[in-house]
Symmetry: C2
C-alpha cells in the first residue's frame, strides 16, 4: 500500500491511459477507521483491481459549533488497518491540498437535505457534496463505496450522481455493528462508559419501530414510541426520530418502494445516528 | 461525423478503456453555429484526436422573460458546418435526455456571478454550471473550448474547474468578429437592418475604452465614455459597461494581472454582449 498526500501524485498513479482496462474503487472516509470502513474497503477490493481509500476530515461539512477539532484521528493505526483490508492507495491530503483556493462556488442539495440531519446541521451536505465531487474528479473511480449508516448522505450522493451524470457507480454497503447492536462509528470512542452501555438502546428502539411498521402502525405513532424507548432506556436526548420515504426523504408514502426510520441522539459529548430501512 | 442524440451512446463511443492514448476535445454550444463556434472546433481539432461538439439550447440558463423559445435553431445547417470544421461527434440531446430527473441539487457560483451579466440575468450562471458539469461528466474531455466573447462564463467555469478538480483543461479562444468589428453571435440574426448597421459601435466604444485605459484614465471615466459612445452612435440601451479585474470580476485593481472592459447592450429584440481584455 502506498500513502499519498498530493492530488497530483495520486492522479498520475490513476491516469486514464495507464489504467486502461483496470477498474478503480474509491472508499471516502474521515479516518479513525473501524470495521464499517473496512467492510467498504473489502467490498471495493472484491469488485475492483485497485482500491483507493481517502482519509480527510473535511472542514466544509462541520458547522462552527461542531466537533471538527475533536474529531478522533489516528493515521498510523488507520494505515495498518487500511493495508489489512486491501487498500492500494491511501490518500491523505491536507486541508490546504484540498482547498487551496475558494472562488465561492457552492453545491446546494435539494429537499432531501432539509430532513433528518440536514435540519440540525445546516450546510453539512453542501460540504459533503463539495468534497465528494472533488474526490470523484481526483480519483475517477469506477465504483464508490458508502455505508448505509449515513443513509441521508448516501441518498443525496445518489441523486447527485444521477442528475449530474457523475462518472462513478455508487455502491451501498450495510452498516456494521458491535455485538450489542450499536452501529460502528468513529465517534463511539467519545462516549462515557455509562453512555456506551446505554447506546444500544438506539438500535433496539429502531427494531421496535420496524415491528410497529410491520404491524401497519402510522408513522407518527412509530416515531413517538421509538423516541420514548430511547429516552426511557438512556440518558440520550433525541435530535430527531423520523420515518420517511427512501431515498426521497419526503413524508412517508405507503406507495414508495422503501422507507427509512432514522434517528439522531445527543449524548454528553457525542451525537450518534442510526437507521433501519423498511420495505 | 456522427450525429448522436443519446448520452449512453456517446459515452460508449468515448469509453475510457477504448480511447486509451487518444485525446478528446469538447466544444459546448447552443447551436446556430457561426465562425466563432467553428474557430473553437478547429482549434480543438488541432489539439485532440477526437472532437465532440454539443448543441443544446439549455433551458436552465434562460430566465423566464428571456429568449429560450426564440433562440435561433438550424440543426441541418449546423451539422454541415460542424463537419466542415472537423467535428467527429455532434451531440444533440433533447431536454428530456439531459434533464430526465431533478432532485433539486444546484451549483451556485460565487461573487464572480454578481457582476456584469449576473446582475441582470439571475440564475443564468447556475444553469451554465449545471450543463457544463453534466457535459464534462458525459464526455470526459481532455480539453474544453470556450470563446472569450462570453468572458464572464469563461472566468466562472475556470474557477469551477480549479476549485473542484474537474478533469478537463479549459482553452480560451479569441472572439471572432465580422469585418466591421461586431462580435459574431447567434443572436445577431435578430437585429433589424438598422440595428445591424449600428451594432459595430459597441466594438468601437470598447476600443476607445482601451485607449483611455492605456492613458491611465480611471475606471469610472472610461465606463462613462464607453456608454456615451454607444448611446451616441446607436439606438441601443446600455445594460452595463464595466471595467473590472479579470478573471476575479471584482472592482478594478491596478495590481491585478488583467482587466476586462465589458458591456451588454439591448436592441429592440436582441441583447448583445462584448468585451476587451486589457493588460
Amino acid at each position: 500500500m502506498e500513502i499519498i498526500h498530493s492530488i497530483k501524485e495520486l492522479q498520475q498513479k490513476l491516469d486514464r491511459n495507464e489504467r486502461a482496462g483496470r477498474t478503480v474503487g474509491l472508499v471516502p472516509t474521515m479516518g479513525f477507521l473501524h470495521e464499517g470502513h473496512l467492510a467498504l474497503a473489502k467490498q471495493a477490493k472484491k469488485q475492483n483491481d485497485t482500491v483507493v481509500m481517502s482519509i480527510f476530515v473535511n472542514p466544509a461539512q462541520f458547522g462552527p459549533e461542531e466537533d471538527f477539532e475533536s474529531y478522533p484521528r489516528d493515521i498510523d493505526r488507520d494505515a495498518k488497518l487500511a493495508e489489512s483490508a486491501g487498500v492500494d492507495y491511501l490518500f491523505i491530503p491536507s486541508v490546504e491540498e484540498m482547498y487551496p483556493t475558494d472562488g465561492g462556488i457552492r453545491i446546494l442539495p435539494g429537499a432531501q437535505a432539509t430532513a433528518l440531519c440536514g435540519a440540525s446541521r445546516p450546510g453539512h451536505f453542501d460540504g459533503v457534496l463539495k468534497v465528494v465531487l472533488k474526490l470523484f474528479n481526483i480519483v475517477d473511480p469506477d465504483r464508490s463505496y458508502f455505508g448505509m449508516k449515513d443513509a441521508q448522505q448516501l441518498a443525496i450522493i445518489e441523486t447527485f450522481v444521477r442528475d449530474f451524470n457523475l462518472r462513478t457507480n455508487i455502491v451501498r454497503v450495510p452498516t456494521v455493528r458491535e455485538e450489542d447492536g450499536l452501529a460502528k462509528s468513529s465517534r463511539n470512542v467519545n462516549l462515557s462508559e455509562t453512555e456506551r452501555q446505554e447506546a444500544p438502546a438506539i438500535r433496539q428502539a429502531l427494531e421496535l419501530g420496524a415491528e410497529l411498521f410491520a404491524e401497519g402502525k402510522p408513522a407518527g405513532e412509530i416515531e413517538e414510541k421509538v423516541a420514548a424507548y430511547i429516552t426511557g432506556n438512556s440518558t440520550g436526548r433525541i435530535d430527531y426520530v423520523s420515518l420517511l420515504s427512501y431515498p426521497e426523504l419526503t413524508e412517508y408514502d405507503p406507495s414508495s418502494e422503501e422507507a427509512i426510520l432514522a434517528c439522531a441522539v445527543h449524548f454528553e459529548k457525542t451525537r450518534l445516528i442510526d437507521n433501519i430501512i423498511l420495505k
